[in-house]
């Protein structure tokens, strides 16, 4: 399945060239061999997503500051996620988690969101197939066929999914949501399909420590693939064998 966006036909080539230029600038080395992100290539409208690509993220927790929530704010703004003041029922697509090792006192902070597993339990358990994984590894919910059973929320090991507990207003056209359905991080699929990067990654690079690296794990030339090849990284709950697309460094 494929999430398409509008009005891309004529502008794609120009946009790609423009974005490639931006990528060149944004991908400036911040240390020898280390860049903020590798760049996604825009997809033609109507062009099917392909499994040649595996979108992923590498999060360097050493650069993630405790108390910084730029990624969370950016996600909320991008996807129109507001708060009602009822924290227990408010959706959270991305959250900051603080870790403390009680034996050593060591503290870590990291963003946690849908890990876009290669073997997603949410997709396995969904009775209608509303939870699905695109060929490029992005795990999404089809809001038209989600019946709101919440079995995926029971099955997700990362607590990445939220149920929409009440009516929504002021939705973003690129991020449709609906009362009575389940939702989670889309990896900003609307941006990726236009050749962009997720809002959280962008905000972290622009306004914070640049802890988040986005890219194609399948492309050996991509920055993310080079980084995970060179440095040790960790999958959360690797014991489950789900092969998440989000990896962490420094924990």
């Amino acid at each position: 399945m494929n999430i398409d966006t509008e009005n891309r036909e004529s502008t794609n080539t120009a946009r790609r060239n423009f974005l490639a230029g931006i990528a060149g600038m944004a991908g400036v080395s911040i240390a020898s061999g280390v860049t903020l992100f590798s760049f996604a290539e825009a997809k033609e409208a109507g062009e099917a997503v392909t499994s040649k690509v595996r979108w992923g993220m590498l999060i360097d927790t050493n650069k993630c500051e405790d108390g910084c929530t730029k990624c969370v704010s950016a996600c909320n703004k991008e996807n129109g996620i507001g708060t009602t003041g009822r924290a227990e029922t408010d959706p959270q697509w991305i959250r900051k988690v603080q870790l403390r090792d009680p034996k050593t006192g060591n503290q870590t902070s990291l963003p946690m969101m849908c890990q876009h597993c290669a073997e997603p339990p949410c997709v396995d358990v969904c009775p209608t197939g509303a939870s699905f994984k695109r060929a490029d590894g992005i795990v999404l919910v089809d809001k038209h066929s989600c019946i709101g059973c919440r079995y995926c929320m029971m099955a997700c090991p990362y607590k990445a999914r939220s149920f929409v507990h009440e009516a929504l207003e002021d939705q973003k056209s690129h991020a449709p949501r609906g009362k009575g359905t389940v939702e989670s991080c889309t990896l900003c699929v609307h941006r990726i399909d236009k050749g962009g990067i997720p809002a959280c990654v962008e905000a972290c690079a622009d306004e914070a420590g640049g802890a988040m690296l986005f890219g194609d794990l399948n492309d050996p030339k991509s920055e993310i693939a080079k980084r995970v090849a060179k440095y040790a990284s960790r999958q959360i709950r690797a014991d489950l064998g789900l092969n998440p697309g989000v990896r962490y460094q420094g924990i």
Partner: protein, 407 residues
């Protein structure tokens, strides 16, 4: 065969005023429950006690209880037709009706709690065959169909000869159905308190126990309402069987917890359920173990109690109460314990990571659940009034094949 008298079945003929009053009241409860469901759907689930931490609550406790009990209620028929126990045969029709009724009640609750119940057609037309939920949709509809045919074989004289064969199919199907229900939890790899194969046999044992407890009470109430004799022989037999089933559930519960207690990684969740879980711990020990298991076991096996109807019915009621409690502990308790993403680390976040989640069921949720029971009662009441489900007599002379044999 020593059966002296032939079993005669008749529709319920009791006082129409009382009957219609009972149907009316039960219908009213079902209507109120429908209104509660409507209220939850229009306002969204924030008006319930459920949230992003406890995603399944009271409606699921009622629904799972009724669905599990449904397959168990069919056991009485299975014992007659599959295992050839003659004494149970007169009870087979009621057993089938009760099974269908309980499943209908459970499914009604489950469906009305969906975030989008209006999309039920999606669930009926789009299937992901890796989902246990999707399997269950087939298992449930298949159960209705098979038990429906089974009842037809039993009610229609010309078809009686096929009833044993269909009974075998129904028995196998009901085992699959409860395996499916248990596996909803057993296959959840993410959560500490689930992810265990024991949930399938545990749920089967639970279904035997809860289904039979409900059957005993329904049989007693219907017989009394219609002034039909119900002898000690059949009640005693059912009571003894219930005792065995309660013991079987307790056995699987012990296996479930001992297995977890052996593995260090599960110590946290076991400590929560068994010792430090507050209301969950209280419900487990007092509701499920003492009142739901030990007390019924004493009543059902001790000769001082197991000859007295009132005690037997009290034991059956306690089994039902204990069963509801057990499912509450499984569903709510299992979710209240947080997911372990980083073993050995202290975790906190704005999304309630690392903390025990609280759940306070709201009135509409509870009313919806009770509505499921009302739907089951309506099906049984109407069914028994229009069709011949209950024998005219279950007195010892009619029910006990050896009653008239000289010692």
């Amino acid at each position: 065969m020593a059966t002296a008298t032939k079993t005669i079945y008749r529709e319920l003929k009791n006082d129409p005023l009382k009957y219609y009053l009972a149907v009316g009241l039960t219908g009213l409860i079902a209507l109120i429950a429908a209104a509660a469901a409507y209220y939850m759907e229009t306002n969204g689930h924030h008006v319930t006690g459920m949230n992003n931490q406890i995603v399944w609550g009271m409606p699921h406790v009622f629904a799972v209880f009724l669905i599990v009990a449904a397959s168990g209620a069919l056991n009485v028929a299975s014992i007659g037709s599959v295992f050839g126990k003659t004494a149970y045969k007169p009870l087979a029709r009621l057993s089938g009706l009760l099974a269908i009724a309980l499943l209908a009640g459970g499914l009604a609750v489950l469906v009305l709690d969906l975030g989008r119940p209006d999309r039920l057609i999606v669930a009926m037309t789009k299937y992901n065959f890796k989902s246990i939920f999707a399997w269950n949709i087939y298992l449930y509809t298949g159960f209705f169909a098979i038990v429906g045919v089974y009842l037809w074989m039993m009610l229609e004289k010309r078809m009686n000869r096929y009833s044993s064969a269909v009974g075998v199919v129904a028995f196998v199907w009901r085992l699959a159905l409860t395996t499916g229900t248990g596996s909803i939890f057993g296959f959840l790899v993410a959560r500490q308190s689930y992810d265990a194969a024991v949930f399938a046999p545990l749920f089967i044992a639970m279904s035997f126990s809860f289904g039979l407890a409900i059957f005993i009470l329904v049989l007693a109430i219907a017989s009394r309402a219609d002034d039909r004799p119900l002898g000690d022989f059949i009640v005693g037999k059912l009571a003894k069987l219930l005792g065995v089933f309660v013991a079987a559930v307790l056995y699987f519960v012990i296996v479930q917890h001992l297995t977890n207690l052996y593995a260090t990684e599960h110590h946290g969740v076991e400590r929560f359920i068994l010792l430090e879980g507050g209301i969950i711990t209280g419900l487990f020990w007092v509701g499920q173990i003492i009142l739901g298991s030990f007390v019924p076991l004493v009543i059902l096996f001790h000769p001082a109690f197991n000859k007295t109807r009132a005690y037997i019915y009290a034991a059956a009621s306690l089994v039902i109460l204990g069963g509801m409690t057990q499912i509450y502990v499984i569903i709510v308790g299992g979710q209240a314990y947080p997911l372990v993403l980083f073993p050995g680390m202290e975790v906190k976040s704005s999304f309630f990571d690392g903390v025990i989640h609280s759940y306070a069921p709201s009135l509409p949720e509870i009313v919806l659940g009770i509505g499921g029971i009302a739907v089951a009662c309506l099906v049984v009441m109407i069914g028994m009034r229009v069709l011949r489900f209950l024998p005219t007599s279950l007195a010892d002379g009619a029910a006990d094949p050896h009653h008239n044999i000289a010692p």
